[in-house]
């Protein structure tokens, strides 16, 4: 710094002399906050392609192959998936609020959200295995298979995200001194991280509702 300043004859744009403090936790929190919202934006544009495909192909109905007779999802599975998704989202939000109030039992609520999220994945897999059509059964079937496949992948990714916070908390409770690296204080990481993960999970729940309406009801 001194070398550069000497060469330039002191740059007024830079006032020197303020020591760098450790990275304030607010910065990490803001990064998580922003990243979750950007991720939701990116995910929206990803699924927008499927929404567009749905309405585009449905309106064209090329060769009357949009939805041949007999092609349709199981309503029972659809409702069950929707209920599990909504319940998991509600538990995740509850967990974030409990952590905000410093209630240690937030882990239980988060674990419940994880369990119900896994149920969503299992139910969707069961539906794929038992439904009466395959990906080659027309345009609707293509959109259905593609959309639900990537929705389930997004759910799995978010469940992983939620799980990392539960795991970090449990590990920190067991071995409070065994932290380090770029996460000096797990509590500082967990709150903003969980808020971000719950926001994204809430967004996915909304997307799940849209999925149900478009693929099962419309």
């Amino acid at each position: 710094m001194a070398e550069a300043s000497e060469h330039l004859g002191a740059m007024a744009a830079v006032a020197l002399g303020v020591e760098i403090p450790p990275e304030p936790p607010e910065v990490g929190a803001r990064q998580h906050y922003l990243a979750a919202r950007l991720l939701a934006g990116a995910t929206s544009f990803f699924f927008l392609a499927f929404v567009f495909a749905y309405f585009y192909l449905r309106s064209l109905n090329v060769e009357h192959m949009w939805r041949p007779k007999g092609v349709g999802p199981e309503q029972g599975y659809g409702v069950a998936i929707l209920i599990c998704t909504l319940a998991s989202g509600a538990l995740a939000i509850l967990a974030a609020r409990m952590l905000g109030r410093e209630q240690r039992s937030w882990v239980r609520a988060a674990s419940g959200a994880l369990g119900l999220g896994l149920a969503v994945v299992v139910l969707q897999c069961l539906e794929w295995a038992t439904q009466n059509f395959g990906p080659a059964s027309g345009a609707y079937a293509s959109v259905y298979c593609g959309w639900t496949c990537f929705y389930v992948l997004a759910v799995i990714g978010t469940l992983y995200w939620l799980e990392t916070h539960v795991a970090t908390e449990l590990r920190a409770r067991r071995r409070p001194a065994a932290t380090g690296g770029d996460i000096f204080e797990p509590d500082r990481l967990i709150k903003p991280g969980l808020d971000a993960a719950v926001f994204y999970w809430g967004y996915l729940v909304g997307l799940g509702v849209l999925t149900y309406i478009v693929l099962y009801l419309v």
């Binding site: 550069a4 744009a13 303020v18 760098i20 990064q31 922003l34 990116a42 392609a49 009357h64 345009a139």
Partner: protein
Amino acid sequence: MSTSAASVALPQRPLWRRLIGFNLLTAVLLGIGGYYLGWFLGNQVTGASYYYEPKVNESDVSLLLAYVMGVIGFLAGLGFLNYPASRLIGRPPSLREKEGHGWTRYLGLCTDHKVVGIQYLLGIGFFLFIAALNAMLIRVELLNPTPTAFGPNQYLSLVGMHGTMMMGMMTSGILGPFANYFVPLMIGARRMAFPRIEALTFWLLMAAGFILTSTVFFGGFPTGWTGYEPLNDQAVMGMDSYIIFFALVGVSMALLGLNMIATIVTMRAPGLTWSRLPIFCWSVLATSILMVLAAPTLIATLLMAAFDRTISTSFFVTSGGGSSYLFENLFWFFGHPEVYVLALPGFGIVLELLPVFARKPLWGYRLAVAGMLGVSLLSFFVWQHHLFVSGINADLRPFYMLSTEIISLPTGFIFLCVMGTLWRGRATFTVPMLFCLAWTFNFLIGGLSGVFVSDAPADADTHGTFFVMAHFHYTIVGGLIFAFFAAIYYWVPKMTGLRFNERLAKIHFWTMFIFFNTTFMPLFVLGMKGMPRRVVDYATNLVPLNRWVSINAFLLGASMLVFIANAVYSLVLARLPAEANPWRSRSLEWQTPTPVPVNNFETIPVIDSDPYDYGTPLPAHAGEPLAAGG
């Protein structure tokens, strides 16, 4: 994460420990292992033969699985899975171990944004060279009006490889090397918001590049860079390389954009208000918004195409209820913002550099910001101009024609700012400045011809001809590559502490500028005479002009050799030392020592003025004008 903690020197491990650790060697081995495992699993799943068979869905399954597992193995070998695996069991790993030291850090996962920037520069430079070689081969073929050097299929593959590699790799052409390296320095931050993601974007891009190159082993692909259906679905296995390449580029783009936005929004130094943010950072921000929103649509589209080729869905297959127009619409919903992903960083570089070399403040700072954000916003509403002649509803044409023409307004803001900054400036014609001025000339031609082809009746005549090709080469080569070289000559002294030989640099500039124009200007004429793109043979009356273009293209290629020779001579052999701030820039990145320490700033900079106050009464702001050529 205190400063002192992160700058602790790590003990050197023994050679054998380094060889079997997470590094490039391990990554390549695991990548190859993953590739063959994927191929094996694909064959087990589908029961296909192990031999290459053209257009067999089962082979596509095997190859796609091989690519995916190869990439996973590659990333695992570099150590990218350590962090997610550690977090899964609640262990918080450290960034410090990934910051490293010595030249080997350039060959692996490194979370230092400066290392990643240099990795990007070298990696993208390598693939640019491959893509440029393809262009030379294309021009070799076009020396004669009938197929001579290559057959039609090989020619199409060459065109596809050239276009796809250029368009895919150069999406990160400026953001990769220069934004990664300089945005944290410009905003007074110590690192990017998500350093592992930053490193991941680079290695994904490299994996993608090699996957695209491997298409030659699988028959290539006939679609050009757009991957249009129904050719996409009908193509041989080489098409799978295209699909995975662009999908990986999309993931890399989206993550790079997300990281940039998070860094700029959350990590600015005290006093660095939005109105003091360097204009290059604004261009990065505008580009990043496009990357985050447009790239996911591309990924989804390519995954649909992959499903069509493997599990027989019918998104784009007419006989199954799909439509190839769906692909075209979705592709261009990404594809047109993609053009601005390429152009906007060029705007930022030119606007960043001009005040330095004109020795006066940037004229119309807010106008420039509005221009770049305006371009970002409008770029989502123009995509159907690519489909004017595809039989779309005629009522749609006026809207898309108008929206495309309107986008020239915010672009015009940028030109206004360029002109305003140059007006009565004390310009010094250094090599970066020359490239900026060349950008102004080239992009003006690209932009004006763009307004012309956005007109639906004009487009009906020029669509699919060399006229459009000339237009977008003026926009992208003239707009992006010239800005890319301006950035190289301007910032490499900061990145390396070394400078280029001035005389060779000027020879590079003048040969590149002259031969670029003598190559691409005649393409407008060829296009007007009806020469179609992507067709290997052409009318005999176009032979003289085509030969002229080919010869000039070779000379343009030779100008790149001058650059490479200069880089090798100046940076490797002679190692010409650079001054600490050779351009006397006021921008924050030049206020750090060279080489920049791992944590960038020993003390937090507090920003109390903007970076373009050249010539203001404050003596410390003014700086002396540069001597000509200096």
